[in-house]
Symmetry: C2
Amino acid sequence: MNVYAKPVARLIDHLARLPGIGPKTAQRLAFHILNAPAEVALGLARAVEEARNTVRTCSICGYLTDQDPCFICRDDRRRQDLLCVVERPRDVVAMEKARSFRGLYHVLQGAISPMEGIGPEQLNIRKLLQRLEGGTIKEVILAMNPNVEGDATALYLAGLLRNLDLRLTRLAHGLPVGADLEYADEVTLSKAMEGRQEIK
Amino acid sequence: MNVYAKPVARLIDHLARLPGIGPKTAQRLAFHILNAPAEVALGLARAVEEARNTVRTCSICGYLTDQDPCFICRDDRRRQDLLCVVERPRDVVAMEKARSFRGLYHVLQGAISPMEGIGPEQLNIRKLLQRLEGGTIKEVILAMNPNVEGDATALYLAGLLRNLDLRLTRLAHGLPVGADLEYADEVTLSKAMEGRQEIK
């Protein structure tokens, strides 16, 4: 039984394919789009189309950009000797919002995951090695996610880069700021203990 | 500080205007759209555009449709003497999914709400009166939402329709199926008590 007009059903169907959007939410969004002024709906359609047509991954770092190289790679006020390797473009966003890093990035476009059939050859690693050949980069920060796939990827990269003449670091593990000791999981807590720092 | 390329920022901005989509979700959706095959993204854009361009409200009942009259108004297997008045197109969907009504609908496109400056004249009421003039409709079910605005709207319509030669009904109030007596609010419970029915 279809209770929607065909274009409405199609719209709901397309919205429901987005991650985290179930059929109920898709219906609510569709009805909102149909109810909103035409500019709102057509503006959304155009934004999707424009973004999909103009945005590519930066040929140097792999971040999403409409200009190549991206604005981060072009920014010469950034430290050119510091490279932060992350899994996804969204990780670049998170790092930039934290404002604690002013070097360059390299986006792998994923992590090693045998479960999903993703090995090193599917990742943006060859370009990473090319970048490091230049010799400008003195420190590589492996900022993978602290989970099985991220750890495997970091381990693999560490093996690959170990013999190069550069400093290899990773982000500190420990208690998230604002967290309760009581609710921290054991692994986090033992990492925080291992990595304890001198109070000066 | 803008960490996104312009078309990406624009896409996130448009997505974040949808109801229930915050900036974090909008970013996730945008990155999904940019990462998905081009057909997926362009399909979504086209679905939005097509739906917005072709879908109108039915000139008889006010439901969303790309053909006028809508498929419900055109369906002569439905009871033509039974009219269910609802606030929104989504209420038609809910009723149709419940499969317990095979008459016609009339969508008011809202409810009386002085807080939002919506009076009877902003609602699709004139056409309702025109439909009732025909004399085919013998029963009108006022199926507004059971809240302040819905009740006010039902009360207003009841006053308007009282002198016409038709049966005027409303949906039963009571305990939702599957609910716990313990957690039912007092008003629902007292309505359920008032409307108690003979066990046959």
